[in-house]
């Protein structure tokens, strides 16, 4: 049995009186695409931030690639191979697209020539090649999403955390996005993605984890998860769960 790439063990996060995550234990295997779903306020983003190292969990531990990384800050987790995007895009607005990506590439090399070459490769991979020398502030929203992905990929992650990269896109853009995620996985990168748009995510992911009220509600194959009465109740309320 191979060890999972990522594991959270009994993770709690409290913000004052609010419990955002309670006793969350999930695991993500190597090469998987795992969807993290759940209604608004379920604690998905908090869990994401805990995994990325933006804040330390109140309790519990996070194991990445066989090592306990609970105490490590975000920058160090990136060095270990955790890449992420942000739900609200955080481009370096005053920098060009290529320079944005170079920042990511510099985690793996300090030779500027190599970082630049790597950045160009990643931009081509993400379909942003022609926009390399445009200021990030001049990109349209869908391009900014792809820039987020490109920047994270430039850090050569083992695990890529995608925070709602497909939300708010037109159907065509979303389709390209889905293809990009598949392509990323095909290069051997494990993907954990938070997503709202069920009809897009469900065919894409190998496994879905449903969070509700800070707890893991259900996890399993996407087809089973969407039929689970507990999930339907969480999203739509009791009345709709009669099918169970």
């Amino acid at each position: 049995m191979t060890t999972p790439l990522l594991e959270t063990r009994g993770v709690w996060q409290r913000f004052g009186g609010l419990i955002a995550n309670s006793d969350v234990s999930i695991s993500v295997g190597r090469g998987e695409i795992v969807g993290l779903i759940g209604p608004n306020g379920a604690g998905k983003s908090t869990l994401f931030n805990l995994i990325a190292g933006v804040l330390p969990p109140t309790q519990g531990s996070i194991i990445f690639d066989g090592e306990d990384v609970t105490a490590l800050p975000a920058a160090e987790r990136c060095q270990r191979g955790v890449g992420r995007t942000f739900q609200v895009v955080k481009s370096f607005e005053s920098m060009t697209v290529i320079d944005n990506v170079i920042v990511g590439a510099l985690v793996r090399t300090t030779v500027m020539r190599d970082a630049r070459r790597k950045a160009h490769q990643v931009l081509e991979f993400c379909g942003l090649g022609p926009r390399a020398n445009v200021l990030a502030s001049d990109l349209v929203p869908s391009e900014k999403r792809r820039l987020e992905v490109a920047r994270a990929l430039a850090t050569e992650p083992k695990l890529l955390l995608l925070d709602e990269v497909l939300t708010g896109l037109t159907p065509v853009e979303a389709k390209t996005g889905v293809e990009l995620v598949r392509k990323v996985r095909d290069t051997g990168i494990t993907v954990l993605m938070v997503e709202h748009v069920m009809e897009i995510v469900m065919p894409l992911v190998d496994r879905a984890i449903v969070l509700d009220l800070g707890k893991v509600l259900v996890e399993g194959k996407p087809a089973d998860v969407v039929r689970d009465p507990k999930v339907i109740t969480a999203y739509l309320g009791d009345r709709h769960a009669v099918g169970a």
Binding site: V54, F86, F92, L106, N133, R151
Partner: protein
């Protein structure tokens, strides 16, 4: 695309070299000591602003307390020379190192502050430094220290009869500050700094250690400013707290960069070339009665700039506008 980038970098270097060479010949034609004095000050403020720009422009940590490092440089050199007979050249390095260390020691608590809170902290700390030197008897207190001048000497870096050596040193300082910026711009540090300025949280997620980046920028910036301060002490050969650590010095370091283009390679020098002669001339034409007129000019310029061209004047000289002049292939370099 990569070649276009390399070409732009090389072109910057060539332009800088030509400008420096031209500047070096100017004193051969301009013998007037008043004008030479003005050129020395222009180059010095250009160098200082260029150094300030590393921390505040590239890394985005706006400091209005750099007078502290300027003063530390001036005092270190002067005290070492007058009290212990240490040559100013060593004092210059010593002042730079001390300032860099103090900048990091101060950065340790202050870089946890953001935005306006950071700016206020820098102002307050510089004021504390000023007060300390005001009351420090061994360092001359409010009376200040006079550097004993005994004829021209490269060893002691003092030239009572000629401005030329000062001019060439100031030119060298400006070149060094420019070159350090040029070099850092295309290095890991340069990218990290700009990332930290634009979005620290995203930077952190990409492996940038934000705190260390700020510390690095502060150290380089403070070192260069302190060398400028050492030079200034030698140039005027008399220092007191107000004349090397006053708040106006912090402003004077920021203004050229803001005017020319904050966070750009050429902005600070361009700003200094416009601003310093302008103030010097206003000061001399309006005479003693016009004390403060130069500051009004500053204020007016800054207001005009922030309204009309918040990105600074350097944008007017962008590669886009000058493409045809420098290279036929330059167009791809822009977009």
């Amino acid at each position: 695309m990569d070649t276009a980038f390399a070409e732009r970098r090389r072109r910057d270097l060539i332009v800088a070299f030509v400008l420096a060479a031209v500047a070096a010949t100017v004193p051969l034609f301009v013998k007037d000591s008043y004008l030479q004095n003005m050129m020395v000050l222009t180059l010095m403020w250009g160098a200082l602003s260029q150094s300030w720009n590393i921390l505040s422009g590239y890394c985005g940590q706006i400091s209005l307390g750099h007078a502290l490092y300027f003063g530390l440089g001036a005092y270190t050199t002067t005290l070492l020379f007058t009290k212990f007979g240490v040559l100013p050249w060593f004092g210059m390095l010593g002042g730079g190192v001390i300032s860099a260390l103090i900048a990091m020691a101060l950065g340790y608590p202050c870089f946890r502050l953001r935005g306006h809170y950071f700016v206020i902290a820098t102002i307050v700390i510089a004021e504390i430094g000023l007060l300390l030197f005001h009351n420090w008897d061994w360092a001359g207190a409010a009376m200040g220290i006079e550097i004993p001048v005994r004829g021209d000497s490269w060893l002691k870096f003092q030239f009572p009869r000629s401005k030329l050596p000062y001019f060439y040193f100031a030119l060298a300082l400006a070149c060094v500050a420019w070159f350090v910026t040029w070099w850092l711009e295309d290095s890991k540090w340069g990218y990290w700094w700009r990332a930290v300025k634009d979005n620290p949280e995203a930077a952190e997620s990409l492996g940038v250690v934000v705190f260390n980046s700020k510390m690095g920028a502060a150290a380089v910036s403070a070192f260069l400013v302190a060398v400028g301060g050492s030079f200034y002490a030698q140039f005027v050969s008399y220092i007191d707290p107000e004349s090397v650590m006053g708040f106006q010095f912090s402003l004077l370091m920021a203004l050229p960069a803001v005017l020319g283009g904050i966070g750009t390679l050429w902005g600070p020098m361009l700003g200094a070339v416009i601003l310093i002669p302008l103030t010097e001339l206003t000061r001399s034409y309006v005479g003693g009665s016009g004390k403060g007129i130069d500051l009004i000019v500053y204020g007016g310029l800054i207001i005009a700039i922030s309204l009309a061209r918040p990105q600074g004047l350097i944008g007017l000289f962008s590669v886009k506008n000058f493409t045809g002049l420098f290279s036929p292939k330059g167009k791809e370099a822009v977009r």
